[in-house]
């Protein structure tokens, strides 16, 4: 069988003779020496789609129908993934919601309230963890730093809580301390030391801003990773897109809806880091393992991030699985940090910043690894051809 050579396709026949193999190889070698790559910088751009091809392999015939069938089958794994993992991950935050080791405090000296504290802790074992604080200032500090959800002062019959913790938490702590007050023949009063903004009564607006940052970062990473983009352009857009996205979220929250006021710099910084970490993780994964990163990234950024953030459902009111994931997942830490940057500014932001930075660095490392690997493959493919060409020319010169 003769090969049907043209500019863009080659054919290898299993029945060809040695001379035909030499001819087709020389054709390829001539073409590749015209496009030879001398360094990684010359090699074609890396991409998520590029992870699926191997330039060192010889061209092969393909069965178009079977290929289409395989591609559709592989593609349909994505909706199947959504059918299973979206409800599986998120429904758990709505299942059997009740206090689980929720930290609360009783205010007073050791002699006055320690027994009451121990008794309440014993009675509510598993639901609440009750401990003592010395005075009201300490209690307020602990509430603002989110070490406790509420603190009750039996001397005044006053319950200190933070409206920004959400209605579910405040309803739970109110239900806990109302009988305590009644036992003391007191009418319980509540003081909200960290109320939500007037236009944000449910305290969830920050979540939507965070989700916008996540979506923007994830999709930017997906496009930059999947397509063959020049590395410099990839770097520039990878840094610039989170800037634009974070700015857009601030404009939405502060200007468009006017929900928040005051300085937005801290929130902007957190939104930037959140968007950047989502972009870096998605981009790095795409370049390393290809389109298979898409469902993984959706899971890490949106699904698991939302579920374990503690904002959509309080972590001390849902299954321990979510609280276990929360400390080390970048999206989860980022969503919570966005809300805390608005309502709980006394908190330390070291942990969310470090977690997001570490994941971003991992993503960048994966991106570099994936890029270098693909470029090396192209380099290796052409160098092998050139080495063969040199050998054949030497043989051809000697043979006659």
């Amino acid at each position: 069988m003769t090969s049907d050579n043209n500019d863009s396709s080659y054919e290898i026949s299993s029945h060809s003779t040695g001379s035909h193999r030499a001819n087709s190889r020389q054709e390829r070698m001539r073409k590749h020496t015209q496009n030879s790559y001398r360094s990684l910088g010359d090699a074609p751009p890396a991409s998520g789609l590029g992870t699926l091809s191997n330039p060192t392999k010889p061209p092969r015939k393909i069965d178009q129908r079977l290929t289409t069938k395989r591609m559709v089958t592989a593609g349909l794994l994505l909706p199947l993934f959504m059918l299973i993992f979206l409800p599986l991950t998120l429904t758990g935050t709505l299942d059997d919601v009740h206090p689980r080791h929720m930290d609360v405090a009783i205010i007073g000296s050791e002699t006055d309230v320690q027994k009451q504290t121990d008794d309440l802790d014993h009675q509510t074992a598993g639901s609440f963890d009750v401990h003592r604080v010395d005075n009201v200032d300490d209690a307020k500090n602990q509430i603002n730093e989110r070490q406790v959800r509420a603190a009750y002062n039996p001397a005044e019959g006053k319950l200190y809580l933070a409206g920004a913790n959400g209605k579910q938490v405040n309803s739970a702590v109110t239900q806990l301390f109302t009988p305590v007050a009644q036992q003391s023949h007191q009418e319980m009063q509540t003081e909200d030391i960290q109320p939500v903004h007037e236009e944000d009564p449910s305290g969830t607006s920050a979540v939507y801003l965070a989700l916008g940052a996540i979506l923007g970062g994830f999709m930017s990473g997906m496009i930059l990773g999947l397509l063959p983009v020049d590395s410099k352009l990839r770097l520039i857009l990878g840094v610039a897109m989170p800037v634009i996205i974070a700015t857009a979220e601030i404009i939405i929250g502060w200007a468009v809806f006017g929900i928040f006021d005051g300085s937005a710099m801290g929130t902007w910084g957190i939104l930037y880091l959140l968007s950047f970490s989502c972009l870096a993780v998605t981009l790095g994964g795409m370049l390393a393992i290809g389109p298979a990163m898409l469902p993984i990234s959706i899971f890490l950024t949106s699904l698991l991030g939302m579920a374990t953030s503690g904002v959509t459902a309080p972590l001390d009111m849902v299954h321990a699985f979510y609280a276990g994931i929360h400390p080390w997942l970048f999206s989860s830490q980022g969503i919570e940090a966005v809300k805390n940057s608005i309502y709980f500014q006394d908190m330390s932001f070291a942990q969310p910043i470090w977690v997001m930075l570490i994941w971003a660095v991992v993503g960048i490392v994966l991106a570099v690894f994936g890029t270098v690997r693909q470029k090396r493959r192209h380099l290796f493919a052409t160098m092998s051809e050139m080495e063969e060409a040199q050998f054949m020319m030497a043989v051809g010169a000697v043979a006659p």
Binding site: S8, S9, R28, P44, P45, L49, S53, N54, P55, P59, R60, K61, I62, D63, Q64, T68, M71, V72, G75, L76, L78, P79, L80, M82, L83, I84, L86, P87, L90, T91, L94, D95, D96, V97, H98, D200, S202, S205, Y208, L209, G212, L215, G216, F218, M219, S220, I223, P228, V229, D230, L233, L237, I244, I245, E249, I252, G253, F257, S275, A381
Partner: protein, 392 residues
């Protein structure tokens, strides 16, 4: 079979094209929070249907006073007796019904906990003004594990989003797949949607114990309606259908679901979307199936059917755009020389196969044109400039 050369290097994407493509993540980063915050940032009653039971002489007066004071927040009606009021609450026609004689407030929190709380707040003021103590009678509570009454929400969301994605994937990767194959795949996936949704809610989490099959059927119906619409949109609009689908089913569709925040707690625009979009119908359908014995599901089913019909219509319209591959083409002018071509004639698309060079390197004309030249009557039209000069 085709030959594939994997050693041909991929082309770099043009920077300008890339920057245009980056508008899409920016669009999502802006549109998503805009939509969700628009719907959810300040939920408040909006034309919430409530009733006053005519058990006292001043029931009408109470109704008028409440409507005047609450303005757009509530739509107050009166009902004759307690049984009628309870029936209306269980049919979700009224959010709450107040008995001024006893101070009883009939609600069904499974229909929407946030809305129920809002109704309670409203009527606690009414009771206070009447010097009556309010007693809340919850006629339908959510399942014990479904603390917030919204656990099925993500099952509905999963079915809708998966339906949109499945059609998008099939159109993108399986362009040459036959229509019946595509529909069969979507039907199979719809069944899978029903199974996986209920397996998670009933099996894995054990939240619900009743109405398993009807709930599975609702998930399947929701998936199929959305996927059929998306399939039709892709057939008619091509790539633009992806953006349309994201806007309809994610950006606008998720807020319009009406589960966590019901339509009478949303702004008017999203309340309208709730009645229009399939996600709104899906949320309401699943809620009524799960908690209210399928009462009043007719409009929701009709909504899903209409979206499916719209998708089918778009599929048909899309099939009119270009001839299918493998269809036998004719040279109309050769076969009917005395007739004009019919209106809305579908021509063969110019393709690489039509324009392949022959062995001499010339571009042969398509066979149909070649046949027409052989068969067409001879004319005296000049073929060269010399001929033109001769004719003059």
């Amino acid at each position: 079979m085709n030959a594939q050369n994997s050693s041909v290097p991929p082309k770099k994407i043009e920077p300008k094209l890339l920057i245009v493509m980056m508008l899409f993540p920016l669009f999502m980063a802006i549109a998503y929070p805009l939509s969700f915050m628009g719907a959810f940032h300040n939920p408040a009653p909006h034309q919430m249907p409530v009733a006053i039971i005519q058990t006292t002489d001043n029931a009408q007066q109470i109704a008028q006073g409440l409507e005047a004071e609450a303005e757009d927040a509530v739509e107050v009606s009166t009902v004759q007796d307690v049984e009628t009021a309870q029936e209306k609450v269980l049919r979700l026609e009224e959010r709450a019904a107040y008995d001024p004689a006893t101070g009883d407030l009939y609600v069904a929190s499974a229909g929407g906990p946030l809305a129920t709380n809002a109704a309670q707040s409203i009527f606690s003021e009414v009771a206070k003004q009447s010097h009556t103590e309010l007693h809340v009678q919850n006629l339908k509570k959510p399942a014990e594990s479904d603390s917030l009454g919204t656990a099925y929400m993500y099952g509905v969301m999963g079915a809708i989003i998966a339906g949109y994605i499945a059609s998008t994937i099939i159109n993108a990767l399986g362009k040459n797949t036959k229509l019946w194959t595509k529909l069969a795949i979507l039907l199979g996936f719809a069944v899978l949607a029903g199974i996986t949704g209920t397996a998670i809610l009933y099996g894995f989490y054990g939240i619900y114990t009743e109405h398993l099959v009807p709930v599975a059927l609702t998930f399947a119906a929701e998936f199929f309606a959305v996927s059929l619409f998306q399939l039709g949109a892709a057939s008619l609009l091509g790539l633009a259908s992806s953006l349309l689908g994201i806007v309809l089913f994610v950006i606008l569709g998720n807020p319009a679901l009406g589960v966590a925040i019901t339509s009478d707690m949303m702004p008017g625009f999203f309340s309208f979307l709730h009645t229009l979009l399939p996600s709104g119908a899906a949320g309401d359908l699943t809620k009524r199936t799960l908690y209210f014995d399928h009462v009043g599901i007719g409009p929701d089913l009709l909504n899903l059917v209409l979206w499916a019909i719209l998708g089918s219509a778009m599929l048909w319209m899309g099939s009119l755009k270009t001839p299918e591959k493998g269809t036998e083409l004719i040279d109309y002018s050769a076969e009917h020389p005395s007739e004009k071509e019919p209106l809305l004639t579908a021509y063969e698309e110019a393709s690489e196969e039509n324009m392949k060079k022959d062995s001499d390197g010339h571009n042969p004309l398509p066979d149909t044109v070649e046949r027409s030249r052989e068969q067409a009557p001879h004319t005296n039209l000049p073929e060269t400039e010399k001929d033109e000069n001769d004719l003059r």
